[in-house]
């Protein structure tokens, strides 16, 4: 289980913000932790999968979308900030994310 450092947090946040800025064609400066992915950025499932894929490759993570789905059922990730937190949890826990209460 990799240790989540502040450097890693900053890197993940940067990648997530850049991703949504590019994909949703908005200024990165207009995105903050409270920005709603669907309502404000018109994000969708495919975008989330693409973002997930970036991190799976970068951190060599093995995790199925079903496990992530089970976690999101308990902990909705509607904002960019929550997406960043979710990605960090995925990096930290991998497949076991579904076991988090």
């Amino acid at each position: 289980m990799p240790e989540i450092t502040q450097e890693m947090r900053d890197e993940v946040k940067g990648i997530v913000y850049n991703f949504f800025a590019d994909e949703c064609e908005v200024d990165k400066e207009s995105i903050n932790s409270e920005t709603k992915v669907i309502e404000d950025l018109e994000g969708d499932s495919l975008m989330f999968l693409e973002l997930l894929e970036i991190f799976k490759k970068k951190y060599n993570i093995t995790v199925g979308v079903e496990s992530i789905g089970k976690y999101i059922m308990k902990h909705p990730a509607e904002t960019v900030g929550k997406i960043v937190d979710l990605i960090l949890l995925i990096i930290e826990h991998g497949e076991k994310i579904s076991e988090i209460g």
Binding site: S45, L46, L49, E50, L52, E53, K56, K57, G64, V65, E66, G69, I72, M73, P76
Partner: protein, 143 residues
């Protein structure tokens, strides 16, 4: 006339699937497509991937669920092509998607798709009170 259980429409832009066919990188599609689907993708791969994803999204909408609020997964909805062309394919439901239909005594009613410019549109209508012997987990789609 059967009552409508649900309907779903999904529109996808073909260019969003370029990155997979261009790089032959289907790792993301492995999360949402079954092995059979991935083996079945040939010919115009971009169009088939887009159609497959659009089909799955339309069915999720028709079922009234998403991958984040139910046990239904994208892999529960399979779109398999009968040949080299796009004009004939078959939808196969399994897992929780099929269970959801069975539990609600619903069935696949109308399904159709069309390509227009750089977009694909997939439409699904699910009907209530389907006869059990017709509770098909498989239905031919033709455009």
């Amino acid at each position: 006339m059967n009552e409508v259980f649900g309907c779903g429409i999904d529109l996808e832009e073909l260019s969003r699937f370029d990155r997979y066919t261009r790089n032959n990188d289907y790792s993301l599609m492995e999360d949402i497509c079954t092995e059979r689907e991935l083996m079945n993708i040939s010919g115009d791969k971009r169009a088939r991937l887009a159609l497959s994803f659009s089909c799955k999204e339309a069915f999720l909408k028709a079922l009234g669920v998403s991958w984040t609020n139910s046990n239904v997964s994208w892999k529960d909805i399979e779109l398999l092509f009968d040949g080299a062309e796009l004009d004939s394919c078959r939808v196969h439901l399994q897992g929780y998607a099929k269970e959801l239909l069975l539990r609600n005594r619903a069935d696949i009613g109308e399904i159709s798709f069309e390509f227009h410019d750089e977009f694909v549109l997939f439409q699904v209508v699910l009907l209530k009170e389907g006869k059990e012997e017709l509770l098909s987990n498989s239905r031919m789609v033709r455009i």
